[in-house]
């Protein structure tokens, strides 16, 4: 049996986002169990543990579940990820933070047990700028770009990257922090209205997203010049603003089509059997698909681990090997019933974070869904890689880690 815990937050301030994510994650694993009898013939035992997005509860969950032989942890919260990095490293259990968590964990030589496939926040910043470059025909000279961000570690992540890129492309960066929780953003949006930035990028979370989008609509900011990070781009964020939000863009690293073949299987093996997680009403939403994608990466890693070690009953250490050997291509996606679903990912001991590919999606209010409007764009690794190197080495030094692969 493969014990895979899932730290969910189906309650608390971010429950609206936590529910679809957790559902997608759970449904995929259930599907594998029902359809394939697990992974490599070994059934999956998934256990949810509710964190409410609260760090201490996360720690409690971790301690409770690690004792039961957890193979890998998805903390689903940056705060919890930071908690688990040292703990899981000491315990030898992989931690996978999908598009959140500590960016420099991409450096596998320092963070031996931590993975952040398929992309990180610095990738996100770079992808957004690349997209803007495309829109502007290749030059951002003299342009003004505003960053509206959650005033926390998470929100501050892209600043360095955006500054570096600004120096490179010659745009001016305007920083507009929004304090938690972000229900009042009048000041920030009045400033945007005055400064008229050509583009606005948003690093938001929770209620901040909804308010920002509503305010943007109120000041009639051109929505297609407003780009959110992937955590600011779910149906939850745009729906309260109604029609006005039409055209809002957000980054993504997974597909959001409504006709993947896998849906038939999910219907047949999961929903119809009454095994759907939660209320079963989230299938196909952006966050559901992200949860599903996370499960997909994890199970692929486990498959790899089984291949490498020739046993179906893998251990956490083997799963890490599987993660490092992760190699997901377009064929893989297609074979899983999700053609074109995500970018190619190829891991290694050094690279725990994938190739940094992401796409831009856009909200279509009348149809009520996001659609991808670009192909997967590659982040500017020349800029990002040195930053990652510097940050991870600082961490290594602080904690007495000798970087390297064992």
């Amino acid at each position: 049996e493969l014990f895979i815990p899932s730290l969910t937050y189906r309650s608390g301030p971010y429950a609206a986002n936590g529910i679809p994510t957790a559902d997608g994650y759970a449904d995929y694993l259930t599907l594998l169990n029902e359809r394939d009898g697990g992974i490599g013939g070994e059934p999956i035992n998934m256990v949810e543990c509710e964190t409410g997005y609260n760090t201490e509860k996360g720690v409690e969950c971790y301690e409770a579940l690690k004792g039961q032989g957890a193979l890998v942890f998805h903390p689903w919260s940056t705060g919890i990820t930071y908690q688990l990095i040292p703990k899981a490293t000491a315990d030898g259990i992989p931690v996978h933070s999908v598009g959140y968590g500590r960016t420099s964990a991409k450096n596998g030589e320092v963070f031996r047990w931590v993975f952040n496939y398929p992309a990180n926040y610095w990738d996100g910043a770079s992808i957004a700028i690349k997209h803007i470059l495309d829109e502007e025909g290749g030059s951002l000279e003299g342009k003004k770009i505003a960053l509206v961000y959650h005033n926390s570690a998470f929100g501050k992540e892209p600043i360095r990257t955006l500054e570096e890129l600004g120096a490179m492309h010659g745009y001016e960066l305007v920083l507009l922090p929004v304090d938690h929780p972000g229900q009042e953003q009048k000041s920030q949006w009045l400033q945007i209205r005055r400064e008229r930035p050509d583009y606005t990028i948003m690093w938001g979370w929770g209620v901040m997203n909804q308010v920002a989008i509503q305010e943007a609509v109120n000041i009639r900011y051109p929505m297609d010049h407003f780009i959110g990070i992937w955590w600011s781009g779910s149906e939850n964020d745009v729906k309260p603003a109604g029609e006005g939000a039409d055209g809002y863009k957000a980054l993504t690293f997974n597909g959001m089509e409504q006709d993947y073949p896998i849906f038939e299987d999910i219907q047949k093996y999961v929903v119809d059997k009454g095994l759907a997680a939660g209320a079963g009403d989230q299938i196909g939403t952006v966050l559901y698909m992200r949860g599903l994608y996370s499960a997909l990466m994890t199970t692929e890693a486990i498959k790899k681990a089984q291949e490498i070690h020739g046993t179906a009953q893998v251990t956490p250490a083997m799963v890490r090997d599987g993660y490092e050997a992760l190699d997901i291509t377009q064929e893989t996606y297609a074979s899983l019933g999700l053609p074109g679903f995500g970018p190619d990912i190829k891991g290694s001991c050094q690279n725990h974070g994938g190739q940094g590919l992401g796409a831009v999606s856009q909200w279509n209010a009348s149809e009520g869904k996001f659609t991808m409007v670009t192909d997967y764009i590659e982040a500017n690794q020349d800029v990002i890689q040195p930053l990652i190197e510097a940050d991870s080495m600082a961490y290594a030094e602080e904690n007495g880690i000798t970087p390297g692969c064992d």
Binding site: R10, S11, A15, E60, E63, A64, K66, Q83, S152, H180
Partner: protein, 358 residues
């Protein structure tokens, strides 16, 4: 007669001033200490340490601290989270600036730093009272969190804005960092908790404590009979913040190891610690422990019961958990407004009279 004090005579005022004047209580107290120091470390595992005992011990310190301010001195404060953050960041700066000094002293010093900050934010209490003061202390909460988030010097300019506790040892045994053993962190915190409890007890049974309580019960009368409100309130803020600072330091360094200020030391923490002392009992050290135990254990218990034993879906369980905690708080207050400590006292009084009802 389960509970007897008859025949337990005191012949000196020293005896009468003891913490546990009743023999039975005293022995029970020694027994608890013996188990805590001598037995628990041999049976503790990561789960018990990290999910239950460490938070309990650390919250108990914070609760004692807040209880001194609210329960003994009557100054309601909602700045606990912010002050804990001061303790945490002070330890972090000290740990990284003076790596050769024992962490033990860093934590005490961090308490000292918090005490100073506490006094600073306590000054308005000379003018502002009651709930006005409570809300005013939120200024400290929000400002401090903003400050630690804002000024990179506090987090040593790390890219993530988080602080991470590097490994530090006591007697060669790691108590912070990833490579700690459950028993070591437990004992480390236990020493602080017991130490703080004893200090708090000493302070509250003597002149200082009486000054605090007189200010709490009737500040004008207290001033007229000779209590200087400035020193009384400021010492309460200082001592209280000292303990809270220590709690914040341990919370960061020993328990969590990595912290982002807004998330861990947010306003919820302030409320949580306040709940602990109200549920436990204002103006009671035992109550601080009881309240901390209640609010640390209850959610864990409920979760294990509802999800683990009864197999409910996690989200339903989480909602019910909230409802049950809320309802229990209310039920407790209705049954005994003065907290678990008072409940315990009444029970003792009843036991003393047992089998007679009055």
């Amino acid at each position: 007669m389960f509970y007897r004090e008859a025949g337990d005579f005191k012949t000196s005022y020293v005896d009468d001033n003891q913490t546990f004047p009743i023999k039975f209580d005293r022995y029970r107290y020694y027994a608890v200490l013996a188990v805590a120091f001598g037995v628990v470390p041999f049976f503790i595992n990561d789960y018990w340490a990290n999910a239950v005992l460490l938070p309990f011990l650390i919250y108990a310190i914070a609760a004692i601290g807040l209880n001194i301010l609210v329960g003994y001195c009557g100054q309601v404060s909602l700045g606990t989270g912010g002050f804990m953050a001061v303790g945490a960041y002070a330890t972090y700066k000290l740990m990284t600036a003076f790596p050769d000094i024992n962490i033990f002293f860093h934590i005490i010093l961090a308490g000292g730093v918090t005490a100073i900050v506490g006094v600073l934010f306590g000054l308005p209490s000379l003018r502002i009272k009651g709930f006005y003061l409570a809300v005013a202390t939120l200024a400290a909460q929000f400002f401090l969190v903003w400050l630690f988030n804002r000024v990179p010097w506090f987090y040593n300019y790390s890219a993530s804005g988080q602080i991470n506790a590097p490994e530090r040892t006591v007697f060669g045994q790691a108590v912070t960092g990833p490579a700690t053993e459950a028993w070591a962190t437990y004992l480390f915190c236990l020493v602080f908790t017991v130490g703080c409890a004893i200090l708090a007890r000493n302070l509250t049974r003597g002149t200082v404590g009486r000054k605090w309580m007189s200010i709490r019960d009737m500040d004008i009368a207290a001033e007229i009979i000779g209590v200087n409100p400035l020193t009384a309130k400021m010492t309460a803020f200082a001592v209280s913040s000292f303990f809270i600072g220590i709690a914040g330091a341990l919370f960061f360094a020993v328990y969590l190891g990595a912290v982002e200020v807004g998330e861990v030391y947010g306003i919820n923490k302030s409320f949580l610690v306040l709940f602990m002392i109200i549920i436990g009992g204002l103006g009671s050290i035992f109550g601080s422990f009881a309240g901390a135990a209640f609010l640390v254990l209850l959610p864990v218990l409920l979760k294990n019961l509802l999800v683990g034993t009864m197999g409910w879906p996690t989200d339903l369980a989480a909602h019910f958990e909230l409802m049950i905690v809320g309802a229990l708080i209310i039920v407790f207050l209705i049954a005994e407004p003065h907290g678990l400590a008072q409940l315990w006292r009444v029970t003792k009084e009843k036991l003393r009279l047992w089998p007679f009802p009055h």
